[in-house]
Subunit: 345 residues, 2 copies
């Protein structure tokens, strides 16, 4: 079977009416998109953002600047269309679904004032505190993975071509740091950063907690990878991992967000090697461990804008540039046609 | 009169439902936009791209990898909607007008197959060769400035809020290098780069030519700034300068493109100090002199994607991110409303 490789894409891009490589990184982005979609006519629409929400027991150990209640409040803000993610999703025409995989309290059916869908699929009321015990059992972890898988299938069935996952979960940079260490070999001092605004004392606390939790997961042994991962995961993180795995299997193009999303990508790549081959890393987060975690996935970030909000915002901001890359690839005249028309030498 | 300053914008942005400054550079962009437009409700639509085209006598001295005929061929490609700039302009809803300020040959009325307007306002058939004599007389320079001014007035009259200028002119990084030296104090070895693909020998030739031309302009003396500038300018560059000056006067927000556009901005700021206060520098070009030229204007570039195509492409690529910055500023919920709704501490 013919495989479209990077040099095929470059051959096409270098034949368009512009000095060779004069669109810099946009051309690199276009090349990567062509290789992922295995075509010189890549498509970036329709696209869907799935926002996975969950709470984290470790918040009780003082790792976050915000209380867990904020997760629920933000879900309402998202559904109302007034959170950063939903503002950007509207701007860039990404259909949005919020999936509650496990906040402390459920919402039943909230319609909100917006047109953003909400689905309640809570596996449990937040994770256990990974400071004291494994955050999730293997069974709970698998259930959360399955929630994500279903969302990927639903996106594919609705004809979406590009998918984005975002997360909302106060405290979730702590499990992400554990996963970056466990699966991406990111060293402790880089893996643990300020997240959504922890101060120096909280970062020290967070570092000690992460170190202990990772040691516990490592002691589980390599024969039990799911148990080791589940012990330091989050419900929304596991769901994102399942979403990525199934999206890859269904040939959807995945736009990866920041640090928490990348922790989920590390799980996905570990459980289903090759998954990262469908991914574009939208941006390099301000969270210090992100660069190494992306390197572990062999991914290059495109925007370096010091974003650290989550909710899929970084992935959303790359979306119009991905559109431009696709439009450049498919809509520009070729140098050959220009020469035929008038004789550039 | 109340003046909206950066700290007013930050106060607003820090009160939105996100951790403070967690959207990184996008918040910086939003702050700058608010200050330029003097409002916390900035607007980025409608917007117009004006592409100024002109030829350069200095091409005869071998500074470019492309012959002057390409300027005309590219105008046709642009009007047909198949050049990079027009592909992006369509993608990001920027109305486009091509203004021919002085290519070697005119076109009369070309309708093309696209919906892009074309206006012929040729001041002369290309500039003189600045390697041997002043490129333009003061009168020609003033006429080209006036063409740009008219375009700014037309854009304002049509209700446009954001304006972009782009250029098409084989050989125009040579006058741009002269202007960067003359008006931005950029040193020779940085001012002269490869442009649209000159090789090492051509860069050496270009450097010697630029050095001589700048020395000639400097010898004109500071009492004759317009004569000094005209001697190393281009018709499309002068028109862009006039476009920027009048756009600033009419309170339009200016998205600045790459090196050639910045050379025009240096003229505009020199002739009408304060003009750069209406500008956002969309990107840092791969052309080595660009960083210093922007510094001379006290402008910070937003995208660093190694673009070097021109035609306004860099400015166009920032446009959706500027949209996102404006949407964030005006459409997100405030933390105060979130606290009222449910009690984040």
């Amino acid at each position: 079977m013919f495989e479209l490789q990077a040099h095929h894409a470059w051959q096409h891009l270098d034949g368009l009416t512009k000095p060779s490589r004069s669109l810099g990184q946009l051309e690199g982005l276009a090349c990567r998109l062509c290789v992922i979609q295995q075509t010189l006519e890549p498509r970036t629409t329709p696209r869907r953002l799935v926002l996975f929400a969950g709470d984290h027991g470790v918040v009780a150990s003082g790792v976050s600047a915000w209380p867990s209640e904020v997760t629920g409040l933000m879900i309402q803000t998202i559904v109302d269309g007034k959170a950063a993610s939903t503002v950007f999703a509207r701007q860039f025409q990404a259909e949005t679904i919020v999936v509650n995989v496990g906040t402390l309290h459920g919402f039943g059916n909230i319609a909100g004032s917006g047109t953003i869908a909400y689905r309640e699929a809570r596996v449990r009321a937040g994770t256990r505190n990974l400071d004291h015990e494994p955050a999730l059992t293997v069974e709970e972890f698998e259930q959360a993975l399955a929630v994500g898988r279903e969302e990927a299938r639903a996106a594919a069935q609705s004809g979406h071509r590009v998918v984005l996952a975002g997360e909302m979960g106060i405290g979730n940079t702590t499990p992400s740091a554990c996963l970056a260490m466990l699966l991406g070999n990111v060293p402790l001092h880089e893996a643990v950063g300020p997240g959504a605004g922890a101060d120096a004392a909280a970062i020290e606390r967070k570092r000690a907690i992460v170190e202990r939790a990772v040691a516990r997961s490592r002691s589980v042994g390599p024969s039990q990878p799911r148990q080791a991962i589940a012990g330091v995961a989050g419900l929304e993180i596991a769901a994102m991992a399942g979403f990525y795995m199934e999206s890859h299997r269904l040939n959807l193009t995945i736009l990866l967000d920041g640090y928490v999303a990348t922790a989920a990508a590390l799980i996905a790549e570990h459980l289903q090697p090759g998954t990262a081959g469908s991914m574009l890393a939208a941006h390099l987060s301000a969270e210090p461990g992100h660069r190494r975690a992306l390197e572990a996935l062999n991914l290059k970030p495109w925007l370096e804008w010091q974003l650290r909000l989550g909710e899929g915002t970084g992935a959303l901001l790359l979306l119009p540039l991905l559109d431009a890359a696709a439009a450049m690839t498919t809509q520009m005249a070729t140098l050959a046609s220009l020469q035929a028309a008038g004789g550039a030498s």
